[in-house]
Amino acid sequence: MKRVKRRYLALQLDSDGLPSGKEFINAIWGAVTKLYGEHGASQTSLALIDYDLEKKTAVLRTTLATLNLVRASLAAITLVAGNEAAVHVTAVSGTIKALHEKTR
């Protein structure tokens, strides 16, 4: 079986509110499902690896094959936990270590 290549995305949340990690990942799942449907969302293997409420930063994992799909969905987010918001991708990498080096 072919190994699935993963990509880690460093995210910056731009919002007046302070959403919890669960609200944040729900907003991402909602955006992916709205744009690509449940079948598309099931292919992304999304996982929230890290979420810093104070800095409003997060690390998200997905597969390389669905990276563009996830990027488009993140760009389409306008609300997180009922507050107007934007989610910006600050870096993309194949390993968490390299991602932290890029964002440092």
Partner: protein, 252 residues
């Protein structure tokens, strides 16, 4: 990189369509600062036709302070072909970018073939009045007009309305690409939270059928080329494309 014979060229990103309330200086500064922070180098601000030259130079100054190159832009909504010609005669030399909102087929056809028009835009939700078909694209490719796609409706619409819009955009972008008409992806937003990074605009471009290179061109090369061409035309020494006065006087 240079050692391998390949030179990496950093792209210069542009957003030609910001809708700002220029009378609200604080909000204007906030949006422009955000655009600079997100990585844009050039922004076009949609202005009313009656905007005074001193207001334009004030905005240019604000953009300069935050590190942006300012482009003045006017959006024309003519009632008919004659009205379009009248407005173009009056406004072409006052603004660096002229966009025509085509609300009838006659206006769309005239705008596409007129070389003074830079961008064509179509009603977002009235799909029967989106006239960008093969005939329109053929006229636009012989003129200089490009097709403008605003991403704001993709962000604010949901459900069937967004599905229909995506379907139309996909069709129009395919027609534009097959005729070599430049596609320009702009934000069309007035609020800073709706601004997206250039790479995010590229990702939204995938939704309506742009590949990575075309989507990158739509937020960098195409708008920048359009502005460069127009600035050259509006400069004092311009005679014709490729011909400019470099020196005047008896010693020439």
């Amino acid at each position: 990189m240079q050692g391998c014979g390949v030179v990496a060229v950093k792209r210069f990103f542009a957003d030609l369509h910001l809708r700002l309330n220029v009378k609200d200086a604080a909000a204007t500064l906030r949006v422009l600062s955000k655009a600079a922070e997100l990585g844009y180098g050039l922004v076009g601000v949609s202005l009313a036709a009656e905007t005074r030259a001193d207001e334009i130079s004030r905005l240019r100054g604000v953009c300069g302070e935050v590190g942006l190159d300012f482009v003045s832009r006017v959006d024309l909504r003519p009632r008919g072909q004659d009205d379009l010609m009248r407005q173009l005669r009056r406004l072409r030399r006052r603004f660096e970018v002229v966009c025509v909102s085509c609300e009838s087929k006659a206006v769309a056809r005239q705008a596409a073939k007129d070389r003074r028009v830079d961008l064509l835009s179509f009603p977002l939700l009235d799909f029967r009045r989106r006239f960008f078909d093969r005939a329109e694209a053929a006229l636009a490719c012989s003129g200089l007009a490009g097709l403008e796609v605003d991403v704001k409706p993709l962000l604010v619409l949901e459900g069937p309305a967004r599905v229909r819009l995506l379907s139309w955009l996909r069709r129009e972008v395919a027609v534009a690409r097959s005729f070599g008409v430049p596609v320009v992806v702009s934000s069309g937003v007035s609020a800073e939270l709706l601004l997206r990074k250039p790479r995010e605009m590229v990702a939204l471009g995938f939704l309506f059928g742009l590949d990575e290179v075309s989507a990158l061109d739509a937020v960098s090369q195409s708008p920048v080329a359009l502005v460069t061409r127009n600035r050259e035309k509006l400069s004092g020494g311009f005679v014709a494309p490729g011909i400019r006065v470099v020196k005047e006087g008896k010693d020439c």
